[in-house]
């Protein structure tokens, strides 16, 4: 598989910007995090962990097994015992490594790399366990989840080696599923230019993962101007060539199809409460990352 090393690279990423993003994330998540013993932070979210989180008034319909009888005896009303969601503190940043990420130019791939780095940094800064995964029609590369500064350095090295092929690799979301777990959340970064049923793919992922977040990176040249007259296009992923009788007419058709695809993605994510952020490849990674953190941050407690 031919790799285009010119498409990626983290050389222009400034660590000071990452730190700034971390501070922004700190502000966004103030009052929404719980602190567990030790240095590690856990998300303030009720779940099925082993550690006690807090008490909550009992309401009809709540599983009676959660009742804290001893505390209820001391209190006027029955209360239930909530446990922290330990599984949700493990994240996998999944990066679309298909050939379309490097088409038509390197901007989309560079933004994707920068976003993956940024999310890894924020997650590790907030005490989460985080890993990296590059997928196309299979899992191309994996950086197992870890914690702390060593994991960030491993992640940087992993991303720095990563480059999408020039051709011949399609993207399949469900390729990430074997590396996700019910207690492992995922952030998917990609162009999501898929001809199949996107809803089915998302459902497969949700079934095998915890929380799911999407960052779609579009490019103004996804539907390039071919000019008037006959034209030929070649798919960056599968290499198929299509001959068009009139480039201008065909572009209008493709533009409409792309809009429909975008609308379907938004609808599917909204129905499944999946945070979705849409970034153009011309945006800065910082703006895109902040936009996504705002969209994905839980409401204040």
């Amino acid at each position: 598989m031919v790799r285009d090393s010119s498409a990626g690279g983290l050389t222009d990423l400034d660590l000071r910007d990452l730190t700034a993003l971390g501070r922004i994330a700190d502000l966004l998540f103030i009052g929404r995090e719980g602190r567990t013993p030790g240095a590690a932070r856990r998300r303030l979210r009720a779940g099925h962990g082993e550690e006690f989180l807090d008490h909550q008034s009992y309401s009809p319909g709540t599983d009676a097994r959660l009742l804290d009888w001893r505390a209820s005896a001391r209190l006027p009303d029955p209360v239930i015992r909530r446990r922290g969601d330990e599984g949700a503190s493990e994240w996998m940043v999944c990066l679309d490594n298909s050939a379309s990420m490097a088409a038509p130019g390197p901007r989309r791939w560079r933004l994707a790399l920068h976003l993956a780095t940024a999310f890894l940094h924020v997650l590790l800064r907030h005490g989460h366990t985080a890993g990296l995964l590059a997928y196309s029609d299979n899992v191309d590369a994996l950086c197992p989840p870890g914690r702390g500064e060593p994991q960030f350095r491993r992640g940087l090295a992993f991303l720095d080696r990563l480059a999408p092929p020039r051709a011949g690799a399609a993207s399949t979301l469900s390729a990430c599923a074997p590396h996700l777990r019910p207690r492992r959340s995922a952030i998917l970064i990609g162009d999501f230019l898929m001809d199949g049923d996107l809803a089915v793919e998302l459902d497969r992922l949700r079934a095998s993962s915890g929380e799911l977040q999407l960052v779609r990176i579009s490019d103004a040249e996804d539907v390039p101007d071919l000019g008037r007259g006959p034209a030929t296009i070649e798919d960056a992923e599968i290499g198929s060539r299509l001959s068009l009788s009139d480039g201008e007419t065909a572009r209008a058709v493709a533009r409409r199809r792309l809009d429909e695809l975008d609308a379907a993605l938004v609808t599917a994510c909204a129905q499944r409460r999946i945070p979705l952020t849409h970034c153009d490849s011309s945006m800065t990674w910082l703006a895109c990352a902040v936009s996504h953190l705002r969209a994905a941050s839980p409401p204040r407690a």
Partner: protein, 509 residues
């Protein structure tokens, strides 16, 4: 009429046009544009086979074939033959050696014969003969005939002017006709590279009287002393009898000499004061008889008749009487130089004596136009000037501040100096000043005139240098306007049009 220097190249141009047609014979789909997701375009999809019917054959093959043809045509050297033919230009080296006689025939005649014969041989219909020594002199002949050429040739001692014919308008070819006597044209031949060199001349021996000169003896009996100069411009030792005689026939000198090649001999002589003209000859005559004799008029060497006004002061009269170049004449004599010491507009030199005179405040200074008079130094303390002296008509020669001491009025000289003042007349500068004024009025040096008649050394040699005839055939004797540049410009214009069409059809980004 259109013609080509290299017609075979046109076949290549045609082949190139055919190759362009062949390359464009089948329509081709435009180059593929890479897209991130081709499925977006499926609704507008055509298969390659279907699309090939939709894609029209690129009509620009015609344009590109035209570019190939235009370039090929330019390389073929197109030119348009005009109706007015350009004549062959024949430069004639018309030096004095053309008057030499080779085997009883004057070189100018044999050269004319040869040129006419060569032109006939080369089938040159029209020729223009140009003089190499007389700029602008030319002769154009529709049918070059030897007699007409010979009649036009007028040998002269002027040096060749060696024109840069490379910058001249295109002609039907350049020839050079010469006897090769003047080696100075060798470098010109290297520069101009004439197509043909027609050469004549075989005689090499020439002894000439190159100069005759006389002057008055400074301290001797009345008369003249002089010399006659003989040059052997040939290649061998020459024996010659040198004879010098007066116009009356009286013999002054008659001697025989042996002179080496390239050597110059001078023979001295004395003649009486009443001689008017002398003639030097060498005998026997050689190939170039023109330079075997030389005449000299002695008139310019004689003292000039001068009329001195009786009103002039003693000092002036004494100085003029002592001048060896002057001969005092009576007042009624015509053709004499007149010195007046009172206002007289007809005098050649007018010396004012009507004072009062006053000293000058500034040192006298000669103007640049004073010429040799500037060598006469006059001190301020010696000089007094008439109080009425001021800048009048004429050109000041000597000034002291704003006062004009001596001025020139046409050919006359007017002086306001006090020439009776002993402070000046006792100085050596006084006779020198008068002598200078006389020389300026007479237009020549009167004090010690040297009169000579001479010939340029370059005009004496008749021995020919041998030049190699390039023997290039006469070029097409028709005037042709080259069309290479316009054709190339047309090709460039077509190329620009092709590029413009390509830019218009390119997809916008």
């Amino acid at each position: 009429m259109l013609e080509f220097a290299y017609p075979a190249v046109l076949l290549g141009a045609a082949a190139a046009a055919g190759a362009v047609w062949w390359l464009y014979r089948r329509p081709e789909l435009p180059p593929a544009t890479g897209v991130a997701a081709a499925f977006l375009w499926h609704d507008a999809e055509r298969t390659d086979a279907e699309a090939s019917h939709l894609v029209r054959r690129d009509r620009r093959w015609v344009l590109r074939a035209a570019i190939a043809v235009a370039i090929g045509t330019a390389v073929a050297g197109p030119r348009w033959l005009t109706s007015s033919p350009s004549p062959m230009v024949v430069w004639i080296d018309d030096g004095p050696s053309l008057l030499a006689v080779d085997d009883g025939v004057v070189r100018a005649e044999s050269l004319a014969e040869r040129v006419a014969a060569k032109l006939r041989e080369a089938a040159v219909p029209e020729a223009e003969f140009r003089s190499l020594r007389q700029p602008g002199r030319h002769l154009r002949l529709d049918r070059p005939e030897a007699a007409a050429i010979r009649a036009w040739i007028a040998p002269t001692e002027s040096p060749p002017f060696l024109p840069l014919t490379g910058s001249a308008p295109a002609t039907g070819g350049i020839w050079l006709a010469t006897d090769g006597a003047d080696g100075r044209i060798a470098s010109w031949i290297e520069t101009v590279r004439p197509d043909r060199i027609v050469q004549t001349g075989s005689e090499t021996e020439n002894v000439a009287v190159s100069a005759v000169a006389v002057r008055r003896p400074w301290d001797g009996p009345p008369g003249f002393i002089g010399f006659v100069e003989i040059v052997n411009a040939g290649d061998g030792v020459a024996h010659r009898a040198v004879r010098l005689s007066e116009a009356s026939g009286a013999e002054i000198l008659n001697t025989e000499i042996v002179i080496e090649p390239g050597q110059t001999r001078r023979l001295s002589f004395q003649i009486e004061a009443d001689a008017t003209r002398i003639r030097a000859t060498v005998a026997p005559a050689d190939a170039l008889s023109r330079d075997d004799s030389l005449e000299l008029s002695l008139e310019a060497a004689r003292p000039i008749a001068t009329i001195v006004d009786a009103a002039c002061g003693e000092a002036v009269r004494a100085a003029l009487a002592a001048h060896p170049g002057l001969r005092m004449a009576d007042a009624g004599r015509s053709n004499a130089l007149r010195v007046a010491c009172h206002p007289d507009a007809t005098a050649d030199i007018e010396l004012h004596r009507d004072g009062p005179f006053e000293a000058v405040a500034d040192p006298p200074a000669w103007r640049a136009i004073a010429g040799a008079l500037r060598d006469v130094r006059l001190d301020r303390s010696w000089v007094r000037v008439g109080s009425t002296a001021r800048a009048l008509d004429g050109e000041p020669l000597l000034m002291a501040g704003d006062k004009t001491l001596i001025r020139a009025e046409g050919g006359r000289i007017v002086s306001d100096l006090d020439l009776d003042d002993r402070k000046l007349t006792r100085r050596p500068a006084f006779p020198a000043l008068l002598s200078g004024l006389l020389d300026r009025v007479a237009g020549r040096a009167l004090l010690d005139p040297l009169v000579r008649s001479e010939r340029a050394a370059d005009s004496l040699r008749i021995a020919p240098h041998t030049f190699t005839d390039p023997g290039r055939p006469a070029p097409i004797a028709s005037a042709a306007a080259p069309l290479t540049l316009p054709t190339l410009l047309a090709a460039l214009a077509l190329l620009g049009l092709d590029i413009a069409l390509g830019v218009r059809s390119r997809p916008r980004r």
